[in-house]
């Protein structure tokens, strides 16, 4: 029998395909609906721009009562991301709501990239540089942006974004032009 969590994950997947939010994508791995891989594109006009960051999402049968465990697989340099890729984000912990779906999780992490909370650092160096030496911070971020491309070459390609997808994402009608 399909459990509500698996049913719900299929729904989440269907929505991601039919109505993809700008700049994120994700899919279950082939043999397990509870294990997903996702990609977040670094938001434009931020130091993370052009980064293609891979993440893993581990769900349990308790989803959506409990949030998944989400980690960056790509190397990340960010005040709220631990060295092992774990993310320090309220909605993945104490402010989780069963009404959040995979799309909502990914867009929240995407917006966290350029809106870190340096007061609760998971990476103290990143937090310190973010506050005290923005230029050096951005340099370090640019390094992991470059690394994110290299990692793509090495890995199996089924999650690889199509050429131009990133540009297209910015024109997504659901997202009104924020800056211009």
């Amino acid at each position: 029998m399909t459990t509500p969590s698996r049913r719900r994950l299929m729904r989440d997947f269907k929505k991601l395909q039919e109505d993809p939010p700008a700049g994120v994508s994700g899919a279950p791995t082939q043999d397990n609906i509870l294990t997903w891989e996702a990609i977040i594109f670094g938001p434009q006009e931020t130091p993370f721009e052009d980064g293609t960051f891979k993440l893993s999402l581990e769900f349990t049968e308790e989803y959506p009562n409990k949030p998944p465990t989400v980690k960056f697989i790509s190397r990340m340099f960010h005040p709220n991301v631990y060295a092992d890729g774990s993310i320090c984000l309220d909605i993945l912990q104490n402010r989780w709501s069963p009404t959040y779906d995979v799309a909502a999780i990914l867009t929240s992490i995407q917006s966290l990239l350029d809106e870190p909370n340096p007061n609760s650092p998971a990476n103290s160096l990143a937090a310190q540089l973010y506050q005290e030496n923005r230029r050096e911070y951005e340099k370090r971020v640019y390094q992991i942006v470059e690394q994110s491309w290299m990692n793509f070459g090495e890995n199996e390609g089924d999650m690889e974004p199509k050429e131009g997808e990133e540009q297209g994402a910015g024109d997504e009608p659901a997202a009104p032009s924020g800056s211009n």
């Binding site: 459990t3 509500p4 969590s5 719900r8 729904r11 929505k15 109505d19 939010p21 700008a22 994120v24 938001p43 434009q44 931020t46 049968e61 308790e62 959506p64 009562n65 409990k66 005040p79 709220n80 631990y82 060295a83 092992d84 320090c88 984000l89 309220d90 909605i91 912990q93 104490n94 402010r95 989780w96 709501s97 069963p98 009404t99 959040y100 779906d101 799309a103 909502a104 999780i105 867009t107 929240s108 995407q110 917006s111 966290l112 350029d114 809106e115 909370n117 007061n119 609760s120 650092p121 998971a122 990476n123 103290s124 937090a127 659901a174 997202a175 009104p176 032009s177 924020g178 800056s179």
Partner: protein, 297 residues
């Protein structure tokens, strides 16, 4: 449509689209959780230890059924004696005069919602007209929640799940004797519970002006609902009870073992208060926990 409607995706700070609809809601940035003072690299041992303890408590809870069979109320009486709770023993004996049976509900933070779910389910199993009425109320909630700005995609799913479950009871697709035992299936039952939590929250949000003053610490009603009502495994409080019984349009009575816990300082309290008839669904409250109890015929 997606949760990012009406917002630039770069600025989605809270995935719930509630932010869009409730105009008075403050924009919140994705606040990172404050970890313990030792920062850096890996989560510390203390957190891990706490996680282990929580896991252990969770495992212990899972030894008990979510919803027990109906058992004689005397079981409650026998839990107390002159050494561990003479007051409770006396009160339990008094209740045993009026109530014949109890269904014990697992104490996992959802016990209030689960007890009401079982109580309502038993009503609709017995009374076809009540079942139709209940179905109409539940069906109405999809639009009410969406109007409040709950995220469309997921909210609709919870509502559909609940409504089709009620329909399958009404059209006997589910065998009547399977319905209550079915509520012991964790994932199924908890999905139904989320619906109850959402509509409790929804009812309170529809009456923000009325209920916001009851929230401590200057927290907004919307934040309160998110952290206390919509979040699974959070114990209910007076507002949550009010929200649920109003949302379901179905009164309940709570019998208190400890009079100081009752809102009116009495031995029992009806939600909403001052019912003309004694509510059919009765819960027994013992500190921190609700069970479902049954009057003698």
């Amino acid at each position: 449509m997606g949760v990012v409607d009406g917002q630039s995706s770069q600025n989605v700070s809270e995935p719930g689209a509630q932010a869009d609809a409730s105009a008075d809601k403050k924009e919140e940035s994705p606040a990172a959780v404050v970890p313990d003072s030792s920062t850096d690299d890996f989560k510390d041992d203390e957190n891990q230890l706490q996680d282990q303890q929580l896991d252990q408590i969770e495992q212990e809870q899972k030894q008990l059924p979510l919803v027990s069979d109906k058992i004689p109320f005397d079981v409650i009486v026998m839990e107390y004696d002159s050494t561990n709770g003479p007051e409770f023993r006396k009160k339990a004996e008094e209740l045993a005069v009026v109530y014949s049976d109890v269904r014990q509900i697992r104490g996992d933070g959802n016990c209030f919602y689960r007890a009401v779910l079982v109580g309502v389910t038993e009503l609709i199993l017995k009374d076809h007209e009540e079942a139709r009425r209940f179905l109409t109320v539940c069906e109405g909630w999809v639009d009410r929640l969406l109007k409040l700005g709950f995220p469309d995609w997921t909210t609709t799913d919870f509502c559909d799940y609940f409504v089709s479950w009620v329909k399958s009871i009404i059209n006997k697709e589910l065998k009547p004797d399977q319905v209550i035992p079915g509520l012991n299936e964790d994932h199924h039952c908890n999905y139904l519970i989320i619906f109850l939590r959402l509509i409790s929250s929804g009812y309170l949000k529809e009456h923000t002006e009325e209920y916001e003053p009851f929230i401590d610490n200057g927290q907004s009603l919307s934040d309160y609902c998110c952290s206390e009502i919509e979040a699974m495994w959070k114990d209910v409080d007076h507002l949550g009870i009010t929200g649920l019984v109003s949302a379901l349009e179905r009164p309940i009575r709570v019998e208190y073992m400890d009079r100081s816990a009752a809102p009116n300082g009495g031995w029992h309290y009806d939600f909403p208060p001052e019912q003309a008839e004694a509510p059919k669904i009765v819960l027994l409250y013992r500190p921190g926990h609700y069970d479902l109890i049954y009057r003698k015929d």
